[in-house]
Amino acid sequence: MSKIEATELGGRRTTGKGDRHITSLATELLRIAGLAGLFAIALVVLRDDPFLLNILAYTCLFGGLATSWNIIGGFGGQFSLGHGVFFAAGAYTTANLYFHFGISPWLTLIPAVVVASAVALAVSWPTFRLKGPFFAIATLALNEVAFVLANYFDGLTGGPRGMMLPFRAGFENMVFTSKLPYAIIMIGFLLVTLVTAAIVLRSRLGYYLQAVRLDEDAARSVGIGVLRVKLMGMAVSAGLTGVGGSLFAMYIRYVDPPTLLSIQDVGVRFLLISLIGGVGTLYGPLAGALLIVPLEFQLRATLGSALPGGNLMVLGALLVIFALFMRKGLVGTVSDIWDRYGRRRDE
């Protein structure tokens, strides 16, 4: 990849007039608070419509998951196809603790983070030796292995039959009769991932990750511990993904290997949403989720029976089209237009 293209990926590119203004963390937190307000309004408007609340919940869940992926995938440039493994690790941790020990799912979020991050560190330590496409291959293989193991060790996972989580309505069990509380939980998850991503982006770790993405050798030569930085970024990213998995498990109250570890439905989804929104930008993954998740519901409703797999076919085509013509995604394209407009105003 040429250096100029690489810098453009992040959205902060050097123009002839010097660096684009980098916003402070406080500004970003304010923006996220504004987003929270918008979601609150959406909740009030949609409160009596379970169908749309369901779409809202999924949008926020996948927006949050893509934001988590983006921390290592976008900021750090490590295109993991294996985040489904961390998603499943979180989901299975919560499912087991709730099902076998009756522990409140809220409390299981902590072990879910620990397990997902630990799995991520264990598998990333060897695979981070690889770069670019080869890292992607290794993580793809990892996802397939996790699928096989999840089917094989049925004591932990319920095997191919899966685990049905009992319906015991109540706040402490994170089981509700209405969709509204779930939508609130998913919005909360999205906001947590956005805040975490903003903090990471404006911290030493974030700058190190971006340095690693732009030029690993240069980053190493200025004294950045490349492997350590990648592992830290991966741990944060995987921990959040694990939480997403836990919430997902409690939302659908059913876990089985195809739901959690399907590469096309889960593992690639995070990356696809990020690409379409804008890889490496803070709000890109959310923008991508706002477009893709409702679109997919629509596609499934219209194509579902007539053309099985039609939704995935469209997503595949979108991936190719965005890779070819809109590499910076929705957010990158919009900010480019903004830049051009702004520059004209300067003159």
């Binding site: 440039g77 293989a141 797999g309 076919m313």
Partner: protein
């Protein structure tokens, strides 16, 4: 002893299959430095091509090579020209694009067939040859013979023909090759076409062995990645030998452990090789980073 011989035979025959499937992937990687995630889908398209020739035209699956291989060659050229060439120096976008192609082809076939599994029958394929305690299925033997012929043929092609020399020149140094008057983009199109054609041939030869399903490509692509990483990225002989190693490992682990765990065992080998020799057993050291280097 008989069991052991049988396992070795099964492993070698399986290795032929994996080697054949990996060869196209490795040709594309070796020359264009693109990791084609959609390679398994090209094999799948080859299998369905054989099915269609058999079901619609009544051709023997093996004869459909005459239709499927040129068809996939053209498809490969089109993909290289319109999808991958614009992304030449964008390794990350190549991942997205080839993965998008994977999802597109897989679900296109799923949509058309409605997910029904098909199988192809060939009179030749079901023959069984007995040598002592060992049973050999002719269909698998054909695959094994083909992979040997293809490996030798490719070796001859790149060493002794002018287009082959051009391919090697482009592999070594794109800029210098361009200065010598080689049309690099044309070489890439021919190479991707050849890689796709190899996938198509693999698909045709495997169609009498497997039940056809739209998802079957995913099985092959993982095996192919394991083979390619093991044998060496971009090394044709690496793919050839890597195929046999993976095949033998699968046969032995299937017999002594559990066939369900074969993916896990591949992955362990995969990780072990990555740790010890990231470039693969027969690859050039550092080949795993080559795709990221700037070349034009």
């Amino acid at each position: 002893m008989a069991a052991f011989l049988n396992i070795v035979t099964v492993g070698l025959l399986l290795g032929g299959i994996y080697g054949l499937v990996s060869m196209g992937l490795n040709v594309i990687f070796g020359v264009i430095r693109i990791v084609n995630f959609a390679q398994g889908e090209l094999v799948m398209l080859g299998m369905y091509g054989a099915y269609m020739s058999w079901a619609l035209l009544g051709m023997d699956p093996y004869l459909s090579v005459l239709i499927v291989v040129p068809g996939l060659f053209v498809l490969g050229m089109i993909l290289q020209r319109f999808v991958l060439q614009p992304l030449q120096n964008e390794p990350f976008m190549q991942i997205f694009a080839t993965f998008g192609l994977l999802m597109f082809f897989q679900n296109l076939v799923l949509g058309i067939t409605g997910g029904t599994g098909y199988s192809v029958r060939s009179d030749i394929a079901s023959e069984v040859i007995r040598i002592g305690p060992v049973n050999l299925t002719l269909s698998r033997l054909i695959v094994l013979a083909t992979v040997i012929v293809v490996a030798l043929g490719m070796n001859w092609f790149v060493k002794y023909t002018m287009p082959g020399k051009a391919v090697r020149a482009v592999t070594q140094d794109r800029r210098a090759a361009r200065l010598m008057g080689i049309n690099v983009e044309w070489v890439f199109m021919l190479t991707f076409g050849a890689g796709a054609a190899l996938a198509g041939m693999a698909g045709v030869l495997l169609s009498p062995i497997y039940t056809l399903s739209p998802q079957i490509g995913s099985n092959f692509i993982l095996a192919a990645f394991a083979v390619v990483v093991l044998g060496g990225l971009g090394s044709v002989w690496g793919a050839f030998i890597g195929g046999f190693v993976i095949g033998l490992v699968e046969a032995f682990s299937g017999y002594y452990f559990d066939p369900a765990l074969k993916h896990a065992i591949w992955f362990l080998i995969f990780i072990a090789v990555l740790l010890v020799r990231p470039g693969g057993l027969f690859g050039i050291a550092g080949a795993e980073e080559m795709g990221l280097r700037e070349q034009d």
